[in-house]
Every structure is written in structure tokens, then in C-alpha cells.
């Protein structure tokens, strides 16, 4: 009986190997925070990439081959990301999508570069990521200097003279805060407060008390949505009504559920447009497919940018007719013409940064909706 089982197992193994041979596959990696405190972003990234890969495969694949997505969890943690990148590098992938969070992406950059794997980051906006001269690095997200500029201009246009800046010491939030501070100081705006909170805590009333003592006209918070939601909620409980402006990492509907509608009303943030506000045919088709499958809207624009990363990789493989990393990278730099992604036209400059202005100003209304400001 044991022998029989062995033969059956061996037979199944042989068949599966043969099948694998018959359908050669192109493997694309996905590195995302599937667990950890950004898991909601990571899970959405995987949903979207899987959905798009399925569509491509149903339409016959690319270069006649099926696409297989190999997902690895980076847990939103640089050390785990380095391990995930090592593991992905051994799995024969031609390109990798991800990840969310600049410090996490940074930990993986060199590993992918040494292994000649094209990396398209999705939610990593720190400036220095693309200033290292890495040939295979691209990103579908904008850079902090663009966001910093929009933030500084927005605050100046609204006529605020005393600004408090709060970040959370992550690569991203610190970068954006520094950028905005430099530009605001140049524009004769007084910075009355500049410091960092500790992300992951629940009680920020000590920080809010301190902020209130400095009497700012507006608070610019450059960190992420869980802390932004708590800050808004606790500011409301204190009965303090200073306006809050957030960076693009606060663009997540959970912000409103954490803060409560009343406390979130009037909160403004900068962000690439949310998927619901995009009116291109690509975006509407994607939204329809996503809603049909998951019965919900994508959690945030960052997960949609992972979809865009997938789309440009597929376009580059198809356009260059090759799975050679050098050819793919070359095509991404020079070959993308009028490529319609889910978040608008996509093209990359020499450094691998996305070209074009993406940022908009959003405001939360009384119903908790994100309203695009003209």
C-alpha cells in the first residue's frame, strides 16, 4: 500500500512538472506588507495585482506565456523586506512590484539591483530612492519634493502665517516635513513647531496639548492615516478647532472611521487622485472589475498604484518582446508613449521617477467623503 502511494505521488509529481514545462510562465514578484501595521494596504495591493494578472492571463497572457504572481510579505518592516527581497530573487522573477513605505523599499533596492531585477515601487515617495543611480528602479508614485512643493504652496495660498509641522520619523514623513519646512521658511512663514510622534500608539493628547500651547494657525501632519485619525479624534475631544492638513499617506477611508465624521470634517490632505475620481476608461473598467470581485472600493490610491506597476511591467515585456531586465528597463525609460495607467498617463524619466503632476488637494466633508478641491 505504501509503495502504491509512492508511485501515485511520483506520478503526480511528474505530471505536474510536465504541465509546468508545457506552459512556460513569466514570473512577476510582488513585495507588499501583507501583515504588520500596513497590512490593509498590502492586502489590497495583492488583490489588485492578482485581479489584473488574471485578466491578462484570460486574454492569452503576454508573449504567449501566462503570468504568475509570486507574493512575499515584507511586514512593513525593513529587516523582513530584505529577507523577502532575497527570497524573491531566487524565484526566477523578471520584475518585482513594490513596496509601500519608503524605508521598506530602501531596504530591498540594492538586493534587487544586484540580482538584475526590475523593481517598480508603488507607495515610496522619499526623494533619495531614485537618486542612487540604480538602473532597474522605477516608481509609479510621485516624489516628496513634488508633494512638499504642493503642500507649501497650498498652505501659503490659504494665508497661514504660523504653521506647526508634525511627522513620525519614518523616511517618508520626515522627508516630506523637511521639504515643506524649507519651502515655507523661504516663503516667510513662521514654523512654530517641528517634531515627531511615535507611530502605533493610541494616546496623542500629550502631543496635542503641547501643540496647542504653541498656538499655530494650522498643523501639517506628514505621517500616516492611523495616527492622523487619532489626532483628529483627540483634537476634537479637546475642543480645539485648529485646521489640520495631511500628506498623501493620510489618504485612506479608514481615516474617517477612526476619527469619526464629526472630527474628520474639514481635514484637508494632498494626494494623487483617488480611484473613484478618475474618469479615464481604464480607471472605470478597473473600478467596475474590482467592485464586481470584492464588492468594495479599493482601500487607497497606493494599492491602485501597485496595479499601475503591474500594467507598466506587462507593457514593457510586451513592448520590448523580451524578459531581459535591461530591455525592460530601457523600454520603461524610453518606450512608454501615452501609456494610460489606472491613475492617468504614465511615463518615467531617466532616474525612474514618474513624470507629470499628480497631486490634488482633498477635503473631508460632513459625510466623511473625500472631496476633490478645485
Amino acid at each position: 500500500m505504501k509503495k502504491f502511494m509512492l508511485i501515485v505521488l511520483a506520478g503526480m509529481l511528474a505530471v505536474s512538472l510536465l504541465v509546468g514545462q508545457a506552459h512556460a510562465q513569466i514570473r512577476i514578484g510582488l513585495m507588499a506588507p501583507l501583515t504588520g501595521s500596513w497590512a490593509s494596504e498590502g492586502q489590497a495591493m495583492r488583490q489588485i495585482v492578482d485581479l489584473l494578472a488574471e485578466e491578462v492571463n484570460n486574454a492569452g497572457g503576454v508573449l504567449g506565456q501566462q503570468i504568475q504572481i509570486i507574493a512575499e510579505d515584507d511586514a512593513g518592516d525593513p529587516r523582513t523586506a530584505a529577507l523577502a527581497a532575497q527570497r524573491l530573487s531566487t524565484r526566477g522573477i523578471v520584475a518585482v512590484i513594490g513596496t509601500y513605505g519608503s524605508s521598506i523599499t530602501e531596504a530591498s533596492q540594492n538586493i534587487f539591483d544586484e540580482n538584475r531585477i526590475v523593481q517598480v515601487a508603488t507607495g515610496s515617495t522619499a526623494i533619495r530612492l531614485s537618486e542612487k543611480g540604480l538602473r532597474y528602479f522605477f516608481r509609479t508614485s510621485p516624489r516628496d519634493d513634488e508633494q512638499g512643493l504642493v503642500a507649501a504652496n497650498t498652505l501659503k495660498d490659504m494665508g497661514f502665517g504660523r504653521v506647526a509641522i508634525l511627522h513620525d520619523n519614518t523616511t517618508y514623513a520626515r522627508g516630506l516635513a523637511d521639504e515643506a519646512r524649507a519651502l515655507l521658511v523661504e516663503g516667510d512663514v513662521e514654523i512654530v513647531f517641528f517634531d515627531a510622534l511615535t507611530p502605533g500608539e493610541r494616546d496623542y493628547s500629550a502631543i496635542l496639548s503641547q501643540l496647542r500651547a504653541r498656538n499655530p494657525e494650522v498643523v501639517l501632519f506628514t505621517g500616516y492615516f492611523p495616527e492622523a485619525g487619532l489626532l483628529l479624534r483627540q483634537r476634537h475631544a479637546m475642543g480645539w478647532d485648529v485646521p489640520f492638513v495631511g500628506g498623501d499617506a493620510t489618504n485612506n477611508p479608514d481615516l474617517v472611521s477612526i476619527a469619526g465624521r464629526e472630527a474628520a470634517e474639514g481635514f484637508m490632505f494632498l494626494s494623487p487622485p483617488v480611484p473613484q475620481d478618475l474618469d479615464s476608461p481604464e480607471a472605470s473598467a478597473f473600478m467596475a472589475a474590482y467592485r464586481a470581485r470584492f464588492n468594495d472600493d479599493p482601500a487607497s490610491v497606493w494599492a491602485v498604484l501597485a496595479g499601475d506597476a503591474f500594467n507598466v511591467i506587462v507593457a514593457a515585456i510586451e513592448g520590448s518582446g523580451s524578459t531581459e531586465p535591461d530591455k525592460i528597463a530601457e523600454f520603461l525609460r524610453t518606450g512608454l508613449e501615452d501609456f494610460q495607467g489606472l491613475t492617468g498617463t504614465i511615463a518615467f524619466d531617466d532616474k525612474g521617477d514618474r513624470i507629470g503632476e499628480l497631486y490634488r488637494v482633498y477635503k473631508v466633508d460632513g459625510e466623511g467623503r473625500f472631496i476633490l478641491q478645485p
Partner: protein, 301 residues
């Protein structure tokens, strides 16, 4: 002065929660000499159970908000206590006679298991308690406006701590717990069922942790599966600060840590808040290696 008072109340409110969780660490350590790394996750489980019960039973609408919340907290305490006892049975009792390091690894494993189990069951997104659950009135005191719920929260943690203190000092079971903490062998010879004592400890500690979880959930609103990590770490620090193994020490350490954090953030540096708390911890350990109220030298883990 107003800022000082405001930060003092902020610090005490946070410290009360730290103290409740720290009690779980310190009780387990006292009896088993084991750092129960899964304790922070029991706190998280309390927060999630509270949300589930709140949404599914609708207690607050049936029997009124005050009674509803009290019943809710008691139910959560009971459920989390059961999970704590189960944890002890499955993860720690089989390792009772093995080297201490095995039990620590088992505790870390249990923590990872709980965290991911919560993520799989409840999802990775933030969950939110209903916003209209608690009143948002504030009272003015010496020119500082304090939300009433902060005071209630602080009072509730004080009541629970006082109850525990009474239980451990005045009841027969409490005496047995203290005896087992001093010398398990001798306690056994005196006819104390040490396994039962350990089970009590794993019922009480997690119950308090679970209560802290549901209180944090109700007051701050936002819960997610990783929330236990930060609170667990802070509470563990508080337990050491007060002298691990010592019950009043955990209460004092928790309150002190909360106040140190708030004051450090205000008067020294916000970004260095945690560094300041740990610096104070190191200073205290240099001059009092057993913590503020600790008597016996803490063993290394």
C-alpha cells in the same frame, strides 16, 4: 502651570492602562519566573472581543449605557481569562520542567500565533468602536478641561487594581499565590495545589489585560491586530520599573511611566519621548536593580 496639569492628567490616564497590563506580566513573572510575551496580544483580544460583543449583543441599548458597559467589560474579562488559562495549558504547562528559555520561545510563538489569528479572523484593517458610545463632556479643574471619560477610565483602572491588591493580600487564594511566588516547592509541601495557583494567575492577569483592551477600544476608538505590541512593551517596561514580580510595583511603575512619557515629551523632546522613558528606566535600574519596589533580584531571561 496649566500645561503641566494638562500633561499630568494625560500621563496618568495612559499610565493607568499601562499599569493594568503590567499587572499581568508581573503576576506571571512572580509565580513562574516567565515573561509572558503573549500578554500584549491578550490585551488586543480583549479589544476585539469587546467590539464583537458590543456590536452583536447591543447591550448598551437593552440595559442602559452604564450597566451595558460594565457588563461588557465583565464579559470580556471572563472570555480573555479563559483564553489566558488555555494559553497556559497549551503553551506553558508542557514546558514547566524544561529550561526557562524554551518557555520564553513558546511565549513568543504564542504571541505571533495570536497576532496572526486575530488578523485572519478580523482582517488587517483598523476596526472602530461606535463613536456615540461614550459621552464627550469635559469638566474644568484648575483651569484644565479634562474629558469625563478620562477620569472614569482612570478610576476604573484604580478600582480594578485595588480589588486585585485586596484579593492577593486578604484572601486564602491570594495567600496561596503569594506562597507559590516565594517558593513553589515549599508551597507544594504545605498542601497548596501549585498548578491551580498558576491557573488562577493566568485567569486574573489576562482578565485585567482584556479589560484594559476593551477600555482602550472604547476610549480611543481605533483598534487593530498589532496594537498589543506597543502597549505590551510599555507595560513590560512599567513592570520592570516598579520591580517585576511585585504587584504594587506594577501599579506604581505604570502610572510613573505614563507621567514620565508625557512630561518628557513636553519639556524635553517629543521625538525622544521613548528614549527618555527608557533612560529613566536605566537610571532606576542602576540605583535600584530590582526596580522601585522589587525585593528579590530579577533573574535574567
Amino acid at each position: 502651570m496649566q500645561l503641566f496639569l494638562e500633561q499630568l492628567t494625560n500621563g496618568l490616564a495612559v499610565g493607568g492602562i499601562y499599569a493594568l497590563i503590567a499587572l499581568g506580566y508581573t503576576m506571571v513573572y512572580g509565580v513562574l519566573k516567565l515573561i509572558n510575551f503573549a500578554h500584549g496580544d491578550l490585551f488586543t483580544i480583549g479589544a476585539f472581543f469587546g467590539l464583537t460583543l458590543l456590536l452583536s449583543l447591543g447591550l448598551t441599548s437593552h440595559i442602559g449605557p452604564v450597566a451595558g458597559i460594565i457588563v461588557l467589560v465583565l464579559m470580556v474579562m471572563g472570555l480573555v481569562a479563559l483564553i489566558g488559562a488555555l494559553l497556559e495549558r497549551v503553551a506553558y504547562r508542557p514546558l514547566r520542567t524544561s529550561p526557562r528559555l524554551s518557555a520564553v520561545v513558546s511565549a513568543l510563538g504564542a504571541s505571533i500565533f495570536f497576532q496572526n489569528a486575530i488578523m485572519l479572523i478580523y482582517g488587517a484593517r483598523f476596526r472602530v468602536y461606535p463613536h456615540d458610545l461614550l459621552p464627550t463632556t469635559t469638566v474644568s479643574f484648575l483651569g484644565v478641561s479634562i474629558p469625563v471619560m478620562r477620569i472614569v477610565l482612570f478610576g476604573a483602572s484604580l478600582v480594578m487594581m485595588a480589588g486585585l491588591y485586596y484579593f492577593v493580600q486578604r484572601t486564602k487564594t491570594g495567600t496561596a499565590i503569594r506562597a507559590a511566588a516565594i517558593d513553589q516547592g515549599a508551597a507544594k509541601l504545605m498542601g497548596i495545589d501549585v498548578n491551580r495557583v498558576i491557573m488562577y494567575v493566568f485567569l486574573i492577569g489576562p482578565a485585567l489585560g482584556g479589560a484594559a483592551g476593551v477600555m482602550v477600544g472604547m476610549y480611543y476608538g481605533q483598534i487593530n491586530f498589532t496594537m498589543g505590541w506597543v502597549y505590551g512593551l510599555k507595560a513590560f517596561t512599567a513592570a520592570i520599573l516598579g520591580g517585576i514580580g511585585n504587584i504594587p510595583g506594577a501599579m506604581l511603575g505604570g502610572l510613573l511611566l505614563g507621567v514620565i512619557e508625557a512630561m518628557g515629551a513636553t519639556y524635553i523632546s517629543l521625538a525622544w519621548k521613548d528614549a527618555i522613558s527608557f533612560m529613566v528606566l536605566i537610571l532606576i535600574l542602576i540605583f535600584r536593580p530590582t526596580g522601585l519596589l522589587g525585593e528579590r533580584v530579577a533573574d535574567k531571561v
